[in-house]
Amino acid sequence: MMDQMRSQLGRVRGLGSNKHGVGHWWAQRITAVALVPLSIWAVVSAVSLTGADYTTFQAWISEHGNLVLMLSFVVAMFHHANLGMQTVIEDYVHGEATKITLLITTKFIAAIGAISCIVATLKVALTG
């Protein structure tokens, strides 16, 4: 009954294959664009930190540029990875309950990962 009262558009809205339309697609592209320079920086940094001790690492991450780029990299990467895993799960998992469980688990892991990276970065950079 309720469904009959809704307009055609109202019914179809948000009912694409991944059920949340174009926002997901855009966020995946925007984080991808951000990750192009950020991942070059990340690889160069990782190479330069090969075998670094704590003091070296602490000095490195306290530099303003590195601090900002590390936080940007972490945010873009976890967001992008979460959106990507969402696509993959939606492609392969068809049971509704399993799918929802996996999607929520992925989101939680991505959120906790991002938060612990952000907190650790700030803590080491600002308090040593």
Binding site: A32, V43, V74
Partner: protein
Amino acid sequence: MAAANRPLSPHLQVYRPQITSFISIMHRLTGVAMAFGTILFTYWLASAAYGAEAFERAQSLMGSWFGLVVLLGFTFSIYFHFANGIRHLFWDVGKGYEMETVRKTGWLVAIFAIVATVATWATVCPWIGGA
């Protein structure tokens, strides 16, 4: 037909391997591998919040053979996914769709990923005069 028995696309039994499908599958594999890799990355970064001893333990784990194998996989994955990600972004603005171009850029991605991985490791490898 029951939903679970529908044929998958591409139909794997009758599908001739091609550079295009190979690269596409690899994009997904490297993306998923790196998504799992973020857990190790988080461990490494968070270890620094626990102080010098914990961070240096994480650093030596990265230098162990286990760590080196994972980091090698990470290096290849990020270069591959990076290059093919840019290829995707070109498609998104409607460029590079000619079949010939699609094949060429596919090969370019694979070659770039291998060459960049070797070059990166050469700069840190003590046997080839790196750090």
